[in-house]
Subunit: 341 residues, 4 copies
């Protein structure tokens, strides 16, 4: 049975696997000095902007932490949401690597609001106080909601006004662009983002993420940051080949449309079940719902998933690329069965 | 044309690729809570010892630095060779992550000697002086030479005597065991090693290395170290499947015997060329040679490789799993051609 | 005119200055290997407990950060109050030095409550989540309130139950003991504290604080922590002589009783001024009050002080050792004058 | 009996003590916002150059490490001598705080030579290799020798050529200027130094050193570095008053001339003792000598000092401000007595 736990319980998308097999022929220079990487760099420039610089790393924690390391000094800090991966799920990697303070900010349906960001902009220049230097948002959010380009522009304007950088944790960025029916650039470089963690793994790739700089000044030293950050791959072409395949023909959109479509089907089915309450708009490939406590244990035995909040019996159900409409129907049937038994 | 630059210019060994394709079926829990990882853990215990604990990471720098992090505090230091990867090729990752001092020690044909290690054991307990806490050797060395089990036992005895841990950078450990015609355990847990970086990538695997603890006390907190160290893979089964395949049926030995055999053929051919001087015993899959300066440039155009020491025109030629005897013969023919032209 | 800004706007207490002049005679070994330091160590053992270990450092930030460094690893974190010096006034020193997460906790009148601490004790053993390891409280609090010994025992019991260490930021500990009319040990080692930052500077000493371990296991490596933490004084006897003089004849209590007494006089006078609202019990040498905005600027010109919260016009008035009752009366007269003009 | 162990076994110079007593009157704002600090800043600008920026810290380790932190990123490193305090006597503080590699360089009579520095300037731009970014010398050296202004200019020229900063550990800088009979500026800003650790403690001050920037760009963020580095004094005026007194009327030179003069007397006396061999030119306040092993133990009982090298029975004898010519004569008499007994 397929899980609904996370988009990383599935494996590698068939097209990506084909790319991996294909790139395995012959020898190539290691550490990113190879043709596949060169081609991938071009695809990033075409997809985003001509000044885009991209560096591949192995996972999302590294993409976030190393990307942020290019934006601040240790006496400066990161304004980020209370539900962000940076705060909750990286085991203190930001503090250890950056030596910086995280300014934890309340979120509304997963999103940071300008007014809440502004509250941190105090004691500017006070030597006793860590100085906010970068705002980090997650797009789509950890709650599956999506910032509109307009909302991103407002945050970007605030950043420019106060001399802050703008970072996006885009572990599932493709899902946001698919939901918004826009290009990737329209929710990144076009709205003033400086650094992006562009996720691959959660949308069908194998242990690879991209740190993308739209502000090329920030990229100056990054090859050293990545190496010192223990994230330089020797057989780098196997990372590059995946992202090349992902951007080529917009495979990212194809996968994300598929998972969003199924998430909406799941949402619609759930709306008909009175005991299940969906708690956030379904704007990517996740459904968050409050359910009766008696449902959780038996359902989990068939379909593994995570309880998001034990106090409220809120669960997270993630759709992944290899789910089918039949998987959704089976899942809904199981929910109904367990609720009625 | 195949390169002789490094054992990571080749791709993934066919059996490993098969394992990757095979493990791609269906869903599995992420972050190492899966059956493939469980099986791999058993294989490590069978290969090394019952108390062995293993944690997979993405590359050798991470394996070294995080493995060492389990052995020392920031005011303690690492005794290591002047030619070690830790000192020369990790862009300061040890200093940044550990906050510790490296005690750089001269090597003889790549090897640390007991007498040189002992010279660092001064000022014990002096609060002004970083305290040596762990000895790190590379097996086989960066110069392609191999410590005998007896040599390792002597270092281990010194460590025990002075309360030091014993770490091995085994990025090419399989090559050492193949050369010594011994089991992996005979040059690790059986001779008193506490922590091992066990390399996969340089012997045919894809961006994966293992941190192996023979002293299980050192492993207590390591799952947190790995996560905070930004080295926890979400699609972890793809790492585990590789090492499982590698240990199963001793694929590691098959590959390492092949590359060592070819390196010896290369050595024998080179011995007949008076202008080429082999500078270190060929005890793994590398040949280090002093060559006429006029040879380097034209030969490199056909077969990429690295100059090891520009002052002495010393080059490093590495054999990798997909080289054939014909590749060696072609390479030797090219050397002869360029020397005679 | 004397300020009411902080207890560090005053200089050195006359008895401390005498001690400094006295210890200046002749030569003594540096770095704490001297008789004055030996005597001071004995005084600490007599004042607190026989197993007490003490290390002097230069300021409160160092005492807090280095003291905490003995209690946790970088993947572990500190539970501390939202108004704590650790969070607000150390410019990210805890994050930089410890590499650890601070778990920011709401406070009530400056105090942490057991129920709020408990909320952080989630995801124990989850490798993605920084693990709480130590609870840090400030005694007296940043708001001038004081934990009773019973309140401290409750926190200590919680710590023991969950395997947490108990740290006290006692930058003004003498003031708490004076208010509670108890011995220093009754609010430290006797109630289960493991590590204490024992302040000197804010009670009449010159740039010196003590890191005090009641759990001697935590002190094992601390001489190295202090040196690597850049806090080992070469002319150490000048630090030791101050604390020796401070503990001898309980100078600490004499000073703290004096400042508390004056703070109570100030409080009583202010109670008669309707426009001034005291917002927290006066339990040390500070008075926090909401005042009319029009008062702040003219009063500050005569007597420097800090606005605690600009939004509510809350001010902090600190009494220091060299204030006299006449100073208080002059200050109150000025308040009345400015309010009535 | 007075020691000859270090210039920090003596206490505080009488003029400095007077300054401390004098500055103790009344209240002043803390953390360096006071008139005494303002006056001291002016004295530094007058002594060195108009663009000089100065920040006081508590000890030499902090001055070195924090000063260097303004010059480099963690993937960059410091070229420094094998006998430097940074390498041997700071318990790994540079590695911990900077996260940077130290490039250890052989010295000749304590001095770095241009040719040896140049050997580290390899692999520029190679992402695997920590990049040298700053050269640090000690003036006078740990062996009591002194760089001429011309020697410093040569190092400075090398730095400029290769884009390196030039740092001086001047824990005893006054001694170098006294020996060279020059102004402080002639061996710092005038010869291209960027950052200076300017020592006070070893020349009669109390636990205070200055980080001096001649390149003001490097000072931009330093107030935050100092605070996060746990080196901001609250009662800062007591540090400033010392350096003000030290620069005023060139007290630094008076003291350094005195100690150098006595060191020369000691040297001249020792030259007459055949069994004592002076091993380095006496160019500051230190005498390094090889002595018969039988001398060390009995002499140490009367006059504490350090053995510099146990293998060669080399000792270090330091003269300090409160030594008199009679102290020297007594010491020489004791040496003769023990040698002849």
């Amino acid at each position: 049975m397929k899980a609904f736990a996370s988009d990383n319980t599935s494996g590698v998308h068939p097209q990506i696997l084909t790319a991996l097999v294909h790139v395995n022929a012959g020898h190539a220079q290691s550490y990113g000095i190879d043709e596949t990487t060169e081609d991938m760099n071009c695809l990033f420039k075409n997809t985003f902007s001509k000044t885009t610089e991209v560096f591949l790393v192995f996972n999302g924690t590294a993409a976030n932490v190393l990307g942020l390391s290019a934006t601040l000094r240790s006496h400066e800090g990161v304004i980020c949401g209370d539900s962000s991966h940076l705060v909750l799920d990286e085991c203190g990697a930001p503090e250890k690597w950056l030596g910086s303070k995280l300014f934890i900010t309340p979120t509304h349906q997963g999103k940071l609001r300008v007014a809440d960001i502004e509250k941190h902009l105090i004691r500017r220049g006070d030597q006793h106080y860590s100085q906010p230097r970068v705002v980090s948002i997650t797009q789509p959010t950890e709650l599956g909601t999506t910032y509109t380009p307009q909302e991103m522009k407002e945050i970007s304007a605030l950043c420019k006004k106060h001399g802050l950088y703008f970072h996006v944790d885009g572990a599932r960025l493709a899902n946001a662009a698919a939901f918004l029916n826009c290009e990737l650039k329209e929710i990144t470089c076009d709205v003033g983002v400086d650094v992006l963690s562009f996720g691959g793994t959660k949308n069908g790739l194998l242990n690879v993420e991209a740190v993308v700089f739209f502000n090329p000044d920030l990229a100056t030293h990054f090859k050293f940051n990545r190496k010192q950050g223990m994230q330089l791959a020797s057989k780098h072409r196997f990372l590059s080949a995946q992202f090349a395949s992902y951007l080529q023909n917009k495979l990212w959109r194809e996968i994300a449309m598929h998972t969003h479509g199924l998430a909406k089907i799941l949402e619609n089915e759930l709306k008909n079940i009175p005991e299940v309450e969906i708690i956030a708009p379904v704007e990517s490939n996740a459904v968050f719902a409050k359910v009766p406590k008696r449902l959780i244990h038996p359902l989990k035995k068939d379909f593994f998933f995570y309880v998001w909040d034990e106090n409220t019996n809120t669960v997270r159900w993630m759709v992944t690329f290899d789910h089918t409409e039949r998987d959704i129907q089976n899942f809904v049937a199981a929910i109904k069965k367990h609720l009625n038994s």
